[in-house]
């Protein structure tokens, strides 16, 4: 099942989003996420998908696009 609805829900909760970013659009390049909202995104994803993201996985590249976020969450086995 696609995790995109949950990912979008978290993005909306932590950032001011006027138009939903596409699955491959950089969330950093368009300003959706920055140094202040990125940690909140991680916390939000943990809560939304009931997963624990380890410190070793906290690198921005994993969270750059909606697709990369979903691919990463899939690796967590949820």
């Amino acid at each position: 099942m696609s995790k995109q609805p949950g990912i979008l829900k978290v993005i909306h909760a932590v950032a001011d989003v006027h138009q939903d970013p596409t699955e491959d659009e950089s969330l950093f390049a368009d300003g959706t996420l920055d140094s202040f909202t990125l940690p909140d995104l991680v916390t939000g994803l943990e809560q939304e998908f009931s997963v624990k993201i380890p410190d070793s996985d906290l690198v921005p590249e994993r969270f750059d696009t909606r697709r990369k976020i979903e691919q990463y969450l899939d690796t967590l086995g949820n």
């Binding site: 950093f28 140094s35 940690p39 991680v42 410190d55 906290l58």
Partner: protein
């Protein structure tokens, strides 16, 4: 703790030259209002051309000793943290010791940016039983280590120095416990190479800090049976006002419990913790637990709990 260690006084020195966001906008191309919005910084202080890291550290050391009423000759050990010292060796510790008139007391450098002051305080807390009065100094001139072409980093940093005197006999607060951590897997996230300029992967650093710092504080408080809500003040490395807000939110304590001077000083790296401590102590009496915490290059981070006496 191996034996009692007390905080006796803080001191600081901040260079006179102020650099506002407009001045940095002209250098970096980053608009002044954007700098303020994204960092919370209005201005920072830069050292004069002739000033050295040791000069700044010496001034803070003098301020701290004067406030404590302790002569430099009463020091058993000097610890100096700096991530921006002018040379590989000797570091500023020996120079500051000489400026203080010391000729034989050990003076040891801690070449650690950002968390250096906290680490110095933690080491001193364990060493006071052997050395008696220990002066921890943190001094930085990061303004000479930034590249204007890297605006994300250049807009953040300022210069300054802080100091803290620890004693085994008496003070206004007793150091109850300390926790230090290192995770070298992210050592490339924040680097100042020899002869180079500071390079920081800001997003990576803040992701780690937002996770690691609250956890360190929570664990330390739990271990010592202190509720976060009972902490009088959180004195932190002044990296970023938004990071402080996130940590406050994580700990579920009011944001105003976190002292901040980042608007007027920027990020002064390892010096920031003790500059903040000195400013806070100028206007407040210790009535409850104090938490010190810092995070930075290494990655190094930790927390220290002090209790009123």
């Amino acid at each position: 703790m191996s034996s009692a260690a007390y905080l006796q006084s803080f001191g600081s020195y901040v260079p006179a030259r102020r650099v506002d966001n407009q001045a940095l906008a002209e250098r970096t191309g980053r608009a002044a209002d954007v700098i303020e919005k994204t960092t919370g910084i209005l201005e920072r202080h830069y050292a004069a051309e002739e000033e050295t890291v040791a000069d700044l550290g010496f001034a803070a050391a003098q301020d701290c000793l004067t406030r404590a009423g302790v002569a430099a000759s009463g020091l058993g050990l000097l610890l100096v943290s700096s991530g921006s010292a002018e040379r590989c060796f000797p570091g500023p510790a020996a120079t500051i010791a000489a400026k203080l008139g010391l000729t034989s007391a050990p003076a040891i450098d801690l070449p650690i940016a950002s968390a250096g002051a906290l680490i110095g305080m933690a080491l001193a807390a364990d060493l006071v039983s052997r050395y008696g009065n220990i002066l921890v100094v943190a001094a930085e001139i990061m303004s000479r280590r930034i590249d204007d072409a890297d605006a994300d980093t250049a807009i953040l940093f300022g210069d300054g120095a802080g100091a803290c005197l620890l004693s085994r006999d008496s003070g206004f607060a007793r150091i109850a416990d300390v926790a230090l951590y290192t995770d070298g897997n992210f050592s490339e996230s924040l680097v100042l190479p020899h002869g180079g300029t500071l390079a920081m992967r800001g997003l990576e650093v803040i992701m780690q800090a937002a996770r690691k710092v609250p956890r360190a504080i929570v664990d330390l408080l739990a271990k010592n049976g202190v509720a976060a809500d009972d902490v009088q003040v959180f004195l932190m490395h002044q990296a970023n006002r938004n990071l402080l807000a996130k940590i406050a939110k994580e700990l579920k304590v009011p944001e105003d419990r976190f002292f901040t001077n980042i608007a007027s000083h920027g990020n002064t790296s390892s010096a920031s913790l003790l500059i903040a401590a000195k400013q806070w102590s100028d206007s407040a009496a210790v009535t409850g637990p104090i938490v010190f915490a810092a995070f930075g290059a290494g990655l190094q981070w930790g927390a220290l709990l002090a209790l009123p006496v």
